[in-house]
């Protein structure tokens, strides 16, 4: 159907009061969404993901840079000429019309026969479980229901080249969310939709997207597949944002002893492999400060692993979560989270050793936040 190219796009907002002051909502964003790809814009609130989506939709002016849809520059095209469908986080439903008429609105404007409209609505209504509220007006619906109507209105648009979704399932309860994650992904595949999807929920991004664009403070942090982001986070922000519970960070200093390079955290020293120490030495401008990142699930508690890094600490708390438990270990005032399968018999206040493999660690420059690959 279509591919979308976002090339060096900026968005400035002029501040109302301060003359000449500008807020940079999106800074130099570049990414491509291929035909029939599911692309997620992921980031915390205020990171510029919605501004980016609205620029693609044509609802916001592009301050600088270019956006191409099917290799056609769309900067100066009106929203209606970009052939897009969009579902809104704020629902953007038509208050005087019933749910049925809301979904039918874009189709009726295109003079579809009523019979065909009926069939299409029945299809999406079934999918989104809104068949029983079709005759209600939006004001009578809950937030989750309105959100599904907004999604339905975007999904009936079979002529759309790209389907844009702004937090389309954020207001639903957990169960329905889980179902819709699966359904949306399946629809996208089956119908061959090109989807650009905005979310702050890493779970949605990781489970549905073919490609994820992680944004923070208006800047793109990393573009990659969900696996890339999880296995090879490009910087501290991505490492901390992706994964639940979040990655542990230990701030270390670089120590060189007998030609061997170590990263030292208090009285624990982690010897580095030659190629990593070379990379670190090449880039050693951060006063020797480095951060070791290790995911809670990659740490083993109590059982010694041969050739792995080992540390010792006091158990601070144990959080049982059903299938797993989160154990917090205090090491010199630094809390380290460990994910343990099943329930954990450890008691608070006990001193324990824990281990993690060298290849499971991520090393970041403490100053720039960039990962050493």
């Amino acid at each position: 159907m279509a591919e979308v190219k976002v090339e060096h796009v900026w968005k400035f907002y002029r501040e109302e009061a301060g003359a000449g002051q500008r807020v940079e909502a999106v800074k130099d964003a570049t990414f491509h969404c291929n035909d029939q790809e599911f692309l997620c814009l992921l980031g915390p609130s205020g990171c510029g993901k919605t501004s980016t989506l609205r620029m693609i939709a044509g609802l916001e002016h592009i301050s600088r840079g270019d956006i191409y849809i099917n290799n056609r520059r769309v900067n100066n095209l009106l929203p209606k000429d970009r052939m897009l469908a969009m579902s809104f986080e704020s629902y953007a439903l038509y208050p005087p019309l019933s749910v049925y008429d809301n979904i039918a609105f874009p189709l009726r404007a295109r003079k579809y026969p009523e019979q065909k409209i009926k069939e299409k609505i029945a299809l999406v209504a079934d999918l989104l479980e809104i068949g029983d509220i079709l005759h209600f007006r939006p004001a009578k619906l809950s937030g989750g229901e309105q959100q599904r109507v907004s999604l339905a209105r975007a999904l009936v648009r079979e002529d759309a080249q790209v389907t844009l979704m702004d937090e389309p399932i954020s207001h639903l309860d957990a169960q329905l969310k889980a179902k819709l994650r699966i359904d949306l992904k399946r629809i996208q595949r089956e119908w061959g939709l090109t989807v650009i999807y905005v979310t702050h929920d890493q779970l949605e991004a990781l489970s549905m997207a073919d490609k994820v664009v992680v944004m923070n403070l208006g800047e793109i942090q990393q573009v990659g597949t969900p696996d890339d982001l999880y296995e090879k986070p490009a910087n501290l922000f991505v490492a901390g944002f992706i994964g639940e519970p979040p990655m542990n960070f230990l701030e270390c200093v670089m120590v060189k002893e007998l030609d061997r390079v170590y990263l030292q955290f208090h009285d624990f020293a982690f010897p580095l492999d030659p190629q990593i120490s070379q990379a670190i030495e090449r880039e050693n401008q951060s006063n020797g400060k480095w951060v070791i990142g290790i995911r809670p699930g990659d740490i083993v508690l109590g059982v010694e692993l041969k050739g792995a890094y080992s540390m010792k600490g006091t158990i601070y708390s144990v959080e049982p979560l059903g299938e797993s438990s989160i154990v917090t270990v205090d090491v010199h005032g630094q809390r380290v989270l460990v994910e343990v399968a099943g329930t954990c018999a450890e008691e608070e206040g006990r001193v324990v050793s824990f281990f993690f493999r060298k290849e499971k660690t991520h090393i970041f420059n403490a100053l720039t936040g960039k990962a050493i690959q």
Binding site: M83, A85, P95
Partner: protein, 296 residues
């Protein structure tokens, strides 16, 4: 102490109720008095005040002057409301575009409502004067024949409608403007992305969303036009030859010129009934429209 406190706690409610009570009495007593008087031959000159049943109302049905007034009143209302709602709507749309000098336009637009209606009527009467008036002067300048305006039996009604529109278009326009500015933004964004034409959006979305506001303007203007007195009396005194003789002006003549109060009251009770029925209908429609837009 104990006694005083209980006195206050017992009577404070009555005291607070008093203004509302006085207001109600102040409205209902004269109204009830008018209704009662409409069943009498109350006449200030002869001093009679005898109960004559529905005599006055029977007389109304046979009075061609009354039927003419009713027709004039309704024509005036329909004409004035069409002008005011139509031009007011267009003005609100233009003022909402955010054109250059928007604040100045809004202030200028509001000027006519600040004029006392009588003053506006006299001002227009001068401009509409057939020989020395500026309208005919301008018309003749571009080659048209002048009009008789307020002086012609066929043009007088339209002329007073124009004066009324001049005074009340801003009123309608300002309420429409408030309505237009309160329209939610997001549905229009959705329509824009969906490629729905402006005309389709206007018909299917804007008009239903503005329906409560339109009905409020209709309600106020229809009630006001039906009862209209000041502009018409100041401009034409009901003439020429009853061409602008609305029910209010007619009732005024019957009461204060011919001192036939009972008969005048009968006119006013009929007028009240018309206003009441129409308002009742419009308020019902308004409630329905509000619930359609805002739920409930």
């Amino acid at each position: 102490m104990e006694l005083r406190r209980s006195f206050w706690s017992r009577n404070i409610a009555l005291l607070l109720f008093l203004p509302a009570f006085l207001l109600t009495v102040g409205i209902l007593v004269p109204f009830g008095y008018s209704v009662v008087m409409s069943f009498t031959n109350f006449n200030l000159t002869t001093g009679t005040s005898d109960f004559i049943g529905i005599g006055n109302y029977l007389k109304l049905t046979r009075d061609p002057e009354f039927w003419n007034s009713l027709k004039v009143t309704l024509l005036f209302t329909v004409g004035a409301v069409i002008f005011e709602v139509g031009i007011g709507f267009i003005a609100a749309y233009l003022l909402n575009l955010g054109l250059l000098g928007q604040k100045i336009w809004r202030t200028l637009f509001l000027l006519p409502v600040m004029l006392p209606p009588t003053v506006a009527a006299i001002m227009w009467k001068l401009m509409m004067a057939p020989i020395q008036g500026v309208f005919n002067y301008l018309l003749q300048l571009v080659g048209f024949a002048g009009s008789e305006w307020l002086g012609g039996s066929s043009t007088a009604l339209l002329s007073v409608i124009l004066i009324d529109a001049y005074v009340f278009v801003p009123f309608a326009g300002m309420i429409f403007l408030a309505g237009v500015q309160n329209l939610p933004k997001e549905p229009y964004e959705a329509a824009a992305v969906d490629g729905v034409s402006n005309w389709f959006t206007f018909r299917k979305l804007t008009i239903p969303l503005l329906k409560p506001v339109i009905l409020i303007v209709l309600l106020f203007r229809i009630m006001d036009c039906l009862k209209h007195f000041d502009i018409i009396y100041a401009a034409t005194k009901g003439g020429p030859a009853s061409a602008t003789m609305t029910l209010s002006v007619q009732a005024y003549y019957h009461s204060f010129r011919w001192t036939n109060m009972g008969y005048a009251f009968a006119h006013l009770v009929v007028l009240w009934a018309i206003v009441y029925v129409l308002s009742y209908f419009l308020v019902g429609q308004w409630k329905k429209a509000v619930s359609e837009v805002h739920g409930g």
